[in-house]
């Protein structure tokens, strides 16, 4: 305890002026915290969230078809548990010799606490509550199993585990929209967190290759390609997203081949993709600029073709440099999905607005907005944590511990 006291004294109470400032600030922050807690615990009426939790989660998705979303959630959490466990089974240490992933046990305990508290807070039906607990138990169980026995798996199987993600994603698309023998649910009935995550993940996945191509185009030696990329990037960056979204609702039907963007939701998702690609291209370009020309020269002098040099030498280095900026773009893309509510789609903010418009919940704006903020914060925090972990993993200085 002594060092802590000494540190407090040094950092907060070094001079009388510092002490005054510290005491003042602590009092201010403390009273704000007390005020917030008093509101959240005593005054706020969370019934607005409790009664509408399904609406926030999936919008007006038909109740008799919601088993498909439960199945998708199960698959996603299963893949997450397996991947998490495999990462634990193959730890790496970096310069400071600290094992990755860090704070692993802390993350699990936090997860368990949230899983115990959230269903109670949302006053879920016992059946649904039990399902959530079973899902979290499966996640942690798979994490433990893969962490314990992951190293002994044959390497072919190990290499297949990352492929789980695209498989689950494509399967999820089918599960959500229907087809292939199950009842179709039209996109107009998707909503809430489901729609937010769907639009954001669709745009993130597609804007990435598009952004890389644009960045390469902008640095190309072919004038036509270079100018086309510059014009595209500057045009998109010069217009506010909301105008592009409205424009997209009206003209995208003419621009894309028939059938690619029939629904308003897909039109909006494509606009998000095209918009994010322009910004992503600039992030990737900064990464490309950070790779010394000697790298390409060395690759070319070894006989690698230009595409090979790009794939194996330039892009791995450039993308690692650009990763923090790219994730920044992904995070703002996730938040930009709230603009979809302005073109009449019922993603998280859209659902929130319909709920607040319901006379039964008049004046409950604070509760609703706080919930939205926490939901977005959780998603963005997950993206940020994932990117930092990936950054450490890609650092040439981190070594697989054997």
């Amino acid at each position: 305890m002594k060092p802590l006291l000494r540190r407090l004294r040094r950092e907060l109470f070094a001079t009388p002026g510092d002490a005054l400032l510290s005491v003042g600030l602590i009092a201010l922050l403390g009273s704000a915290l007390v005020g917030f807690l008093r509101w959240a615990l005593l005054q706020a009426e969370w019934a607005v969230i409790q009664a509408n939790s399904t609406l926030f989660a999936v919008g007006r998705y038909p109740i008799d078809q919601q088993w498909r979303l439960w199945l998708l959630t199960t698959l996603l959490l299963g893949a997450a548990g397996l991947s998490w466990g495999m990462l634990r089974a193959h730890p790496r240490s970096d310069r400071e010799g600290i094992l990755w992933p860090r704070n692993d046990r802390l993350a699990v305990s936090l997860l368990v606490l949230i899983a115990l508290w959230l269903p109670w807070f949302l006053k879920l039906q016992p059946g649904i509550q039990a399902r959530w607990w079973a899902l979290v138990a499966m996640l942690i169980g798979l994490r433990w199993l893969a962490g314990r026995f992951g190293r002994q798996l044959p390497s072919k199987l190990k290499r297949a585990i990352p492929l789980l993600w695209p498989t689950v994603y494509l399967l999820g698309m089918v599960l959500i929209s229907g087809g292939l023998g199950i009842v179709k649910v039209p996109p107009s009935e998707w909503g809430g967190l489901l729609l937010t995550l769907l639009a954001a993940s669709f745009a993130i996945l597609l804007c990435f290759p598009l952004g890389v191509l644009l960045a390469l185009g902008r640095r190309s030696e072919l004038p036509l390609l270079r100018w086309a990329s510059v014009v595209y990037i500057e045009f998109i960056r010069g217009a506010p997203l909301i105008t592009l979204l409205f424009l997209g609702q009206n003209i995208l039907g003419f621009l894309l081949p028939n059938g690619l963007a029939p629904e308003r939701i897909w039109r909006a998702a494509w606009v998000l993709t095209f918009f994010a690609a322009a910004y992503l291209a600039e992030a990737v370009r900064s990464g490309l600029a950070a790779v010394p020309t000697g790298q390409v020269e060395a690759a070319r002098s070894l006989g690698l073709s230009y595409p090979q040099a790009l794939q194996h030498i330039v892009l791995p280095q450039a993308l690692r440099v650009a990763l923090p900026a790219m994730v920044g773009q992904f995070i703002s893309l996730l938040q930009d999905t709230t603009l979809l509510s302005l073109i009449g789609l019922l993603e998280l903010l859209g659902v929130a607005r319909t709920v607040m418009a319901n006379p039964a919940y008049l004046g409950k704006n604070a509760e609703v907005y706080l919930t939205l903020a926490v939901l977005f914060w959780c998603c963005c925090a997950a993206l940020g944590l994932g990117s930092r972990a990936l950054e450490r993993r890609l650092d040439p200085q981190t070594i697989p511990s054997r």
């Binding site: 010394p292 000697g294 790298q295 020269e297 060395a298 690759a299 070319r300 002098s301 070894l302 006989g303 690698l304 073709s305 090979q308 194996h312 030498i313 791995p316 280095q317 690692r320 890609l394 040439p396 200085q397």
Partner: protein
């Protein structure tokens, strides 16, 4: 086969009247001629800015040129991309700044090109790569990343990486200029060792001792021209050109 034909066959690099202008109009190479025979070690010296790096970089098409002709191992260097790729497979290059791939392990630095370009099986290439690392004295660093090695070790990896493609010609562009003085020797020792094989080497360097002991011929370049071309003892003791004498006065 008559003797003159045999000699023509053994010419690995034939550069004739090579002229290069940079886009800004600077006349970097003003008609350079050079012939390098199989197994020969040719050292290129000259003051900085004389065009010596530019000249040897034209041999594997890292620099283009506007006039003249270059033939490498019987393949004419033209704008035909297939010719350029064919030449680059036969010509290895070692750079002043090493240019190792920092995101790959030492072993992967060596095996990448043979597997990708020559389509050889990975296991076989790895065995060869380990043997080469043994030869340059850093087999125990195979699993490390370039950033974890000293400059001298990195340059030895770069030499091994070039050798792993089994080139017939090795170009060295000031291989020791970026090294701390105490590391120059370990790199020169590796190069000396290579010169005893029948690999053809063209070396741009300021290392006089290396040139005296290892080179078959020494070339002086100044102001974009090949000024003098002679065996080392003639070059260093009885140079014919005034420009060579001035250069030697400055560096010796």
């Amino acid at each position: 086969m008559n003797p003159s034909a045999a000699q023509a066959n053994s010419v690995m690099i034939a550069a004739r009247d090579v002229q290069k202008w940079y886009p800004n109009g600077f006349h970097a190479l003003r008609g350079c001629d050079l012939q390098v025979h199989k197994g020969e070690v040719v050292v290129v010296m000259g003051p900085s800015g004389s065009g010596k790096s530019t000249f040897i970089r034209t041999f594997n098409a890292l620099e283009d040129f506007q006039k003249g002709s270059i033939t490498v191992d019987g393949i004419a260097l033209s704008n035909d991309l297939r010719n350029i790729d064919a030449i680059r497979r036969e010509v290895g290059m070692v750079f002043q700044q090493f240019n190792l791939f920092p995101h790959l392990t030492v072993l992967d630095n060596l095996t990448l090109a043979p597997v990708m370009v020559r389509k050889r099986p990975k296991g076989e290439v790895q065995r060869q790569a380990m043997a080469l690392l043994q030869r340059v004295g850093i087999a125990e660093q195979a699993e490390k990343y370039p950033g974890q090695l000293s400059g001298g070790q990195q340059q030895r990896v770069a030499i091994a990486r070039a050798l792993c493609m089994e080139p017939r010609i090795l170009l060295f562009d000031e291989p020791t200029s970026a090294l701390d003085p105490e590391m120059v020797r370990e790199v020169l020792d590796v190069m000396r060792n290579l010169a005893n094989d029948d690999i053809t080497m063209v070396v741009v360097t300021h290392e006089v001792k290396f040139a005296e002991q290892v080179a078959d011929r020494v070339v002086l370049m100044a102001d974009g021209e090949v000024v003098e071309e002679a065996a080392p003892d003639v070059f260093f003791n009885r140079p014919t050109h005034e420009r060579t004498r001035r250069f030697l006065d400055q560096i010796l």
